[in-house]
Amino acid sequence: MKRFAKYIGKRFGWYLLTFLFALLLNFYLPRLVPGDPVSQIVSQIASGGVESETMKRLYDTYVREFGLDRPRILQFINYVAMLFRGDLGTSFSQYPTPVIKVLGQAVLWSLALQLPALLVGWVVGNLLGAVAAYRRGVFDHTVFPISLFFNSIPHYALGILLLYFLAVVLNLFPVAGGYDQALSITLSPAFLGSALYHYVLPFLSIVLVTVGGQAIGMREMSVYELNSDYVLYCRGLGIGNWRIVGYVFKNAVLPQITGFATSLGMVVGGSLITEVVFSYPGVGMELFTAIRQADYPLIQGCTLLITLGVLGANFLMDLTYGLIDPRIRAAEMGEAGG
């Protein structure tokens, strides 16, 4: 157990370094290209216009908060220091609300939507894929192309189709929002019911695409395992079919766990934009409005939170994986492989 703790510590250290690197990117990338936020604000002030007073105020806030008159590296240190105090700056578009406050609620909405959707999609997809590989025949020939098709559409595009057919044409679900605006956010049955009603379509968009991707991966892994020597050997020994399926599933599902963790980074963009399709009040929606309003502190707050979420999820998966697969634990500790 002590060695396992060491493994966890090492992984944690690695993710901490990655996070630091992500912070660097988050800070420097938008400032690298000409047309960074500050010079854009300055040019808007210079061009005058009705909003110049507000612009001036924004500019002052921005300069003060981020210490823009100092060298870049000091600015960065200041940025990190602010971050550790839980300060992400002040939103431009919702001045003078702090970014962290704007995002606080959005994070909860996003987590409530994304986590269950991705998990349900993962479980259903892997079961389907395993069955397709085992049953072959008609089942496989329908599951495979359908999964591939769902996996080819981005989450938000599927969301647009679902929104049109199920909400606009058939009028089964609400067309926008995360809850009925007439209700206040409480834990009352009326609010929860309304939230659930609004939840169905965005949830379904993310689940279906995830199911598709996982089913394809799992089918492939299972076919691979089913063709392997140990399966033939078990068959030769006369071991029951279901026990063999059990062995195969165990071996095939392990790479699916790490695969899922690493693919999160790729998937998260599409699934967050699904929120835009349904005007769902999550981080994806905030990011969308922030970009349209050139609200740089809010944009960078969103990207930082998204990175943090993906890194956190990866770390959790690493832990789970270390717990389930003794080989990995041994390899990590013995410094072998890699």
Partner: protein
């Protein structure tokens, strides 16, 4: 190379996928030749339904959706192909050097690869493009390419790592060939089938990445892509107004392109990994 193509072509999945993909490419190439109206030209009112004259009606600006679709397909394909090429090249270079050199070089390159594997490319794409003043097609393709090579790099590294202990590589090393010569002549040809597959997938993901950026309003500024079409339709309430012709076609085309490419990829996988074929 010819042998490679011949073997791939024999797989039904590869053939079917390639046919669909070629049909889409032809659509993007040919329609602009035969139709005179430009994609940006206003030809009617907002959201006119499909008619004999305008097969897919008009969009929120009164532009011909059918024409836009052809030009949009072209843009998306361009972005996909260019970004796919860049990502595959960078990934191959980093992965093969890391796998062949090993040691410290591998340590550094592999850490960088792992960083780019977990930090969402989507985030880096946004951070890079919010500041860009001119977002041309080429510019978008480049930034998509330089943010999505990590998957290629990881697999290439693993394969090169096992290839470098082969006899012919030892022979080349003893004969005094340099690292790059050996990688190019004695190692990469054996990874070629994988590289083709990786490229195919990277094209698909490049097209999806472009669409994702466009959905956020960070798409190409002076061109129409499948992503910008979806984004306009959504912003101008085509969905709630029931103007299906403005958003169903781009969604279907995106799905067709990615579906066909992934189908080709899956077919190639069965050709090159005999273990995946059923006994």
């Amino acid at each position: 190379m010819r042998e490679l193509i011949r073997r791939m072509w024999r797989a039904p999945k590869v053939r079917a996928g390639a046919m669909v993909f070629l049909a889409v490419v032809l659509f993007g190439l040919l329609v602009p030749v035969f139709v005179r109206t430009g994609p940006m030209k206003t030809v009617g009112a907002l959201y006119e339904g499909p008619s004999a004259q305008r097969w897919l009606g008009t969009d929120n600006f009164g532009r011909d959706v059918f024409v836009e679709l052809a030009y949009g397909t072209r843009t998306s394909l361009e972005v996909g192909l260019l970004s796919g090429l860049i990502a595959t090249l960078i990934g191959t270079a980093i992965g093969s050097i890391a796998g062949y050199k090993g040691g410290l070089v591998d340590g550094v390159l592999n850490s960088v690869t792992n960083l780019f594997l977990v930090i969402p490319p989507f985030v880096i794409l946004i951070l890079l493009s919010i500041g860009l003043q001119s977002r041309s097609i080429a510019m978008l393709a480049v930034i998509i390419g330089i943010t999505s090579w990590s998957w290629v790099s990881r697999s290439v590294r693993a394969q090169v790592y096992s290839l470098k202990t082969r006899r012919h590589v030892d022979m080349a090393r003893i004969s005094g060939f340099g690292t790059f010569a050996i990688i190019l002549r004695d190692i990469l040809p054996y990874v070629l089938s994988y590289l083709v597959m990786a490229f195919v997938l990277q094209v698909a993901s490049g097209i999806l990445n472009e669409a994702t950026l466009s959905m956020l309003g960070l798409g190409p500024l002076e061109a129409i892509s499948l992503g910008t079409m979806m984004s306009w339709a959504l912003m101008f309430e085509a969905v709630r107004a029931g103007a299906w012709w403005a958003f169903v076609p781009p969604v279907v085309l995106i799905a067709l392109i990615t579906f066909s490419l992934k189908y080709v990829n899956s077919g190639m996988d069965e050709v090159f990994n005999p273990r995946l074929r059923r006994a």
